[in-house]
Assembly symmetry: C2
Homo-oligomer: 204 residues x 2
DNA sequence: CGCCGATGATGACGTTTGTCATCGAGAACT
DNA sequence: AGTTCTCGATGACAAACGTCATCATCGGCG
């Protein structure tokens, strides 16, 4: 018997996960041996089944796909990770690559690609969606300092400055300064536009 | 031979669409006879193939799932529509029902359900996800007047009032009044929080 | 060591918002 | 015919916000 590639599939959307699992299982050399509905289960299931490749949705409850990839490089070094996502943001790609992810695909890619990417990364290769790669290079690195990104993230709910200051344990004035800096760097007219821009580029 | 239920499947995410198509095709009494990557193609393909049931993703380019359903009730009255979506917002469910949609499911529902719902709506029945239905009833109707919703939508980018006023062809003062009304109705501290709330409930 | 950048804070200043009262035109309902 | 509601607008006022100058501490780096 030929050895099959053992796959973990993690996605919180049952419909997509089971459909994808069936599709991958149709390939002779691929076998989905574990499924998970959130990031925590993904890590434990991957370790338990000692999978070869983990196919991870980016947005999942508890731990997102990138966090899972980070955990797995520690806890299951032989495992290669592929991220699939609905929203291809440049920043996400960068963070994924930094976390040791070997494959990165938007869900709009065709079905045959996924199986081929699973094989590629299993053989030690890498594959990122070409269009996304171009965007990531064009977008450049995040100009935001860590704290600026933190504060901007807290501003994302639309809460007033005082609320943000409380949650960040900062003085309101400091919060305004950080937001002002972020707005300048992002060419935004106000913090809410800054949030929108940072989100679009995957910087928060 | 038993007559199969003829299905159109519309979703812009290739990966999901082809996986779902394979899965539905595995059922003896179901046959996916058409696929579409956006709303416009969905309408023409459904009409061309005279499908029995249209399975539509809610968020698609050009026309969203609800708009497609509206077109189809006109152009292909015999066709029953099922909407599937990643983000189950109460307002979307209401609009879908008003558009004549017979089935409404989040993508987190299990795979067996979808096939069963397709059969149910084909037989003239209805099926909405129970949890979503409860949310929709609890959330009530949108308290926003049409113009308030319009202005709130324009405010969603985070642009300053003057920009919104320009795009809405309104005086800046009027825009502020509408936004103020919307904020009061939604219990928001500012327009950006109002946008977040209205989005979450599917009112814009 | 000296310099720089990130962090954190303060105060002042002008601008943008949010609130409210008020007005008028048109549509719809009683 | 009168009331009510939406739509649209104006002006005034207070609060929130964005900008800037300035200061202090700390860590890293040449």
């Amino acid at each position: 018997m030929s050895t099959q590639i053992r796959i973990l599939l993690a996605d919180d959307e049952h419909l997509i996960r089971t459909a994808l699992a069936q599709m991958l299982d149709l390939e002779d050399d691929l076998s989905v041996v574990a499924e998970a509905v959130d990031g925590e289960h993904a890590v434990t299931a991957a370790v338990k089944h000692a999978v070869d490749v983990a196919v991870l949705d980016l947005q999942m409850p508890k731990l997102d796909g990138i966090a899972v990839a980070e955990q797995l490089t520690e806890q299951l070094p032989g495992c290669r990770c592929v991220i699939i996502t609905s929203h291809g943001r440049p920043g996400h790609l960068k963070r994924a690559l930094a976390a040791g992810v070997r494959g990165f695909l938007p869900k709009t890619t065709s079905a045959v690609i996924l199986a081929s990417v699973v094989r590629t990364v299993h053989d030690g290769g890498r594959h990122v969606d070409p269009e996304l790669a171009a965007e990531a290079i064009a977008a450049g690195d995040s100009p935001l300092t860590p704290r600026e990104a933190d504060v901007l993230e807290l501003a994302a709910t639309g809460a007033p400055i005082d609320d943000i200051a409380d949650r960040a344990a900062l003085s309101p004035g400091t919060v305004r300064n950080y937001l002002s800096n972020a707005m300048t760097k992002l060419n935004a007219a106000n913090r809410h536009e800054a949030v929108a821009i940072a989100r679009r580029l995957g910087w928060i």
